[in-house]
């Protein structure tokens, strides 16, 4: 039996075009041995949830720098649950004010990675969250 790969969807919801962070994380997770499905810019929550379902991912990572996270992220989580994808771990990166982090976590976000987070740490946290190590 082939070793199972961790599959991660990396998406940019909302309208900002700053995708450097998303690309850095995608590359780092690729180097950590994961399979990354990169969807690109300006994804609606519906597009993200649909891609997550078709790709049967373990993890949904969203990068938001526009300030739309409080609207977009909970909506994605709702749709994932409605699709029977409630088990997928959700991570958020980008510019997220400190006071929003607990609220996002309460809505089901596993962790928030702000600017400057080590990519090795991101890989480690994702691996632990998925494999339950």
């Amino acid at each position: 039996m082939t070793k199972e790969k961790i599959r991660v969807l990396i998406a940019k919801p909302g309208l900002d075009g700053h995708d450097r962070g998303a690309k850095v994380v995608a590359r780092a997770l690729r180097d950590a041995g994961m399979e990354i499905i990169y969807t690109g810019l300006r994804q609606t929550p519906e597009m993200i949830a649909e891609a997550a379902l078709q790709e049967d991912v373990d993890v949904v990572g969203m990068s938001i720098l526009s300030g739309a996270h409080m609207a977009q992220v909970p909506r994605v989580i709702e749709l994932l649950q409605a699709n029977g994808m409630g088990d997928a771990k959700v991570f958020v990166g980008g510019i997220i004010p400190d006071e929003d982090i607990p609220v996002l976590k309460e809505k089901g976000v596993s962790a928030v990675f702000g600017p400057g987070t080590s990519t090795i740490l991101i890989g480690k946290i994702i691996r632990e969250a998925v494999l339950g190590e």
């Binding site: 082939t2 790969k5 041995g33 649909e50 078709q54 790709e55 029977g84």
Partner: protein, 354 residues
């Protein structure tokens, strides 16, 4: 029946009822070579063989994903449902992969008549992943009218797609090499349809002419042997381990069209659809479909048999003997051929020897 097997059976039933979650989950199990997935595949096999499978191959960045996006849009407009399998390469170092084909397929989001799955090649070298044929089968069983398979960015020799697809589209972009490239063996021989994408760029006409010239040199691809000449491509089949008919360079009754497109603007894609439909009709009318299907199954069975026998043999081969042989070959005590002979004998006999 084990819990896993029951689960697989339930997934198979879910797929037949149109369940997308079940389809996605079973694809993952098939990719991971989960033993229970085989039961599900066996369950679903009688429901396959209905979809028309179209392969899209070509070099990295020539516009395969963009073209797939346009083809799917056109097929959807005609009321056909479409499954897409898009393969991208796995890193030989980390085992990870970045699958980016969906970026170009955003127009297809939100359409229940489309299902897109990205696959990592996971070490396969022929342009597809080992499990691609099985994933195509799942989409076929799920009832999609068409299944499009996009290969990894292919160079010259990644020709596995010709075994997996009914219609193979080879995409070229202008400005890639001279006309001798066009008469080399390999990927250009497998095309049922040529597309010169990015046709708004300089050199598109030259690329078209090079392909045209290649076809003329190859007797127009109609396979009629003439005095002194043989159809281009004959004799290459053995090198890629296919039964002679699987690669079928001569295409009786089918002239391979060369179409110019600008994928990003949708220019020329209607003609691509027309060519696909014409090829579907040709395959049915000429009986070529059965010929290809038989060749495909033959190639697949041969491969699976080889894998099974190899796994069995390796299993019987005492691991410590392999290490001993390895050390002796490294030390130049014996040559690799003799070492392999010894190991195979040991494996066949199921015990140690020499």
């Amino acid at each position: 029946m084990s819990k896993e097997a029951t689960g697989a059976k339930r997934l198979a039933e879910g797929i037949l009822q149109g369940g997308r979650r079940e389809l996605a989950k079973l694809i993952t199990r098939v990719e991971n070579a989960n033993p229970a997935a085989r039961l599900a595949l066996a369950e679903l096999y009688p429901h396959t063989g209905r979809a028309h499978i179209v392969g899209v191959t070509g070099s990295p960045g020539c516009g395969k994903s963009t073209l797939v996006n346009e083809i799917v849009k056109q097929l959807r407009a005609a009321g056909e449902t479409v499954g897409v399998v898009a393969v991208d390469p796995t890193s030989p170092f980390s085992g990870g992969a970045l699958l980016g084909d969906r970026i170009r397929m955003r127009d297809l989001a939100g359409d229940a008549g489309v299902f897109i799955r990205s696959m990592a090649s996971r070490g396969s070298l022929g342009g597809l992943a080992r499990a691609t044929a099985d994933v195509v089968r799942l989409l076929d069983a799920a009832g999609f009218d068409f299944v499009l398979v996009e290969t990894v960015g292919a160079g010259q020799a990644e020709v596995d797609i010709a075994k997996a697809a009914h219609t193979t589209i080879v995409v070229q972009a202008p400005g890639m090499g001279d006309d001798i490239q066009a008469i080399k063996a390999g990927i250009l021989e497998i095309a049922d349809i040529f597309v010169v994408n990015k046709a708004d760029r300089p050199g598109a006409e030259n690329t078209r002419k090079a392909l045209e010239m290649m076809q003329r040199l190859g007797d127009g691809g109609n396979g009629q042997e003439r005095h002194h000449s043989r159809p281009l491509g004959s004799g290459h089949e053995a090198a890629v381990e296919l039964p002679p008919s699987a690669m079928r360079p001569p295409r009786p009754g089918w002239e391979v069209p060369i179409l110019l497109t600008v994928g990003i603007e949708g220019v020329g894609t209607v003609e691509v659809i027309d060519a696909i439909r014409a090829h579907v009709a040709h395959l049915h009318d000429s009986g070529e479909l059965q010929v290809r299907e038989a060749a495909r199954v033959e190639a697949e069975l041969a491969m699976m048999l080889r894998e099974a026998l190899l796994a069995d043999l390796l299993n019987k081969m005492p691991a410590e003997q392999i290490d001993v042989m390895l050390a002796r070959v490294v030390a130049r005590e014996i040559d690799p051929y003799t070492a392999v002979d010894h190991l195979v004998k040991a494996g066949v006999n199921g015990n140690e020897s020499g």
